[in-house]
């Protein structure tokens, strides 16, 4: 079975310290005021007395979805779902900065990197993983609320948690279903912030235009074939002669 790299998050352990956000920012050189990850806060009313632990802070980032709307929005395939690892990858060298993928993510996980001027988002820190380290946010997390790994590997910490908490794993649903691979153990806290995948008008236009373009090219091709056919069948001299006749 192929890998599915994912995060299993216990939101109830998050203390909203923002360690993950700074760690990620430094590890990935994310420009000022841009973030690859977040902690969604529960701004609920302060209620004296017993709370029964209802407040949750919710760490998150790109969810490396199984049905990634960002991939659908990318014209060049610079963003793709890696079949080997299950990651949603951005090939920066192939990204043309069209920005289609940014509104296409219902979770707002993508942004246009102000320095590189290309699409950016969580990539699970491949440079760190190449050196045997965990993604920066996971490594630094004080309470280890974030756990990262291959959920298809029952021997990994993530896989173990995935199997153990199978019954109570939740996902933050967006209005567009993308089958995210970010799993929360139990109540994830804030739930209703996921939006809708929006494909920019230009991309829609291109998608709509594509069949027509193909059609026109096809018609033109047919025309050429017709001419060629006539040339072969009727011979080419006819035309000339007719012209000469004048």
């Amino acid at each position: 079975m192929a890998q599915q790299l994912a995060m299993i998050i216990d939101a109830s352990k998050c203390i909203d310290c923002k360690g993950c956000m700074i760690a990620c920012k430094v590890a990935n050189n994310v420009p000022e005021d841009q973030w690859r990850n977040w902690i969604k806060g529960e701004s609920g009313m302060s209620r004296p007395g017993k709370h029964n632990g209802t407040t949750k802070f919710q760490p998150g980032a790109c969810m490396h979805c199984d049905k990634p709307t960002c991939v659908e929005a990318c014209p060049t395939g610079a963003t793709y779902k890696d079949e080997m690892t299950g990651e949603v990858v951005i090939d920066e060298s192939l990204c043309i900065g069209c920005g289609n993928c940014i509104p296409a993510c219902p979770y707002g996980a993508r942004f246009r990197n102000a320095t590189k001027r290309k699409a950016d988002k969580c990539n699970y820190c491949p440079e760190r993983r190449a050196q045997g380290l965990l993604p920066a946010c996971v490594d630094t997390c004080p309470t280890k609320a974030r756990v990262f790994g291959d959920i298809n590997d029952p021997d990994s910490e993530a896989g173990r948690l995935f199997l153990k908490n199978k019954e109570q794993l939740t996902r933050v649903a967006a209005r567009t279903e993308t089958k995210p691979n970010m799993f929360y153990i139990g109540d994830p806290g804030p739930r209703d912030w996921g939006g809708e995948a929006v494909t920019p008008a230009s991309m829609i236009a291109m998608k709509e235009a594509a069949p027509f373009i193909k059609g026109i090219v096809g018609l033109s091709g047919l025309g050429v074939l017709a001419m060629l056919g006539r040339q072969l069948i009727a011979g080419s001299d006819t035309d000339h002669k007719e012209n000469d006749d004048v």
Partner: protein, 243 residues
Amino acid sequence: MSDTMYKRHDGSDIFMHWFNAVCWLLLLLTGIGLIQNPVIDPLGSGYPAVLRSLVGGGGNLLLLHEALGILWIIGFLVYLIINFKGARFFLAEVFAISPARDMLWMVKKMVLMTLGPKPLKMLGMDPVLPDQGYYNMGQKAFAQASVVGGVVIAVTGVVMFLSDRTFGAAATGMIGWAVTLHFITVGLVFAGLLVHIYMAAISPEERPGFKSMFTGVVPGEYAKHHHRLWFDKVQSDDQQVSE
């Protein structure tokens, strides 16, 4: 008389034509390889995958495409500088349309090329084509599409090229539309290109014209038949000169 050759293209024109043709071919091949989205890719995902792997990744393919595009644009800019007169002549000829005559020519020609003269005769129309100038209307139509399309393609291409070099986040909308326009325009011009290639290279009647794209000259007979107005003009010019 049939031996008299008339000069139609000078060296830089010929060079530009073939330069443009080669650039187009390569840009088209690399460009299609850059589209990888099942909804829009023209040849399916296998072509981009193979092409990308051949050049060591999509990034390299993009670089190659960008380099070719810039070369193409620079080529035209240099041509404009070196042979501005020629370019102006070309544009003037291409965009000079006599609607009644040229439209009629176009309709008749299309029918003649595909169905022959009979349908025209059946409709009671004279299958004889109206006289044409330096370019016939078919050539003009394609040249117009090439010029306008070329400008659109070049501009949108430059926008995309600059997308990760100068533009800020506010420009993403523009870049997105640039991608779309680039795609649509290339598609439309390519549709015309197919006809152009057939007419110019495969169809035997334009053989002298095709040859002229190498030699720069056409036989008088050909000029007279195909570009009567131009032929007449050249004739009278010659007489004036010789007198």
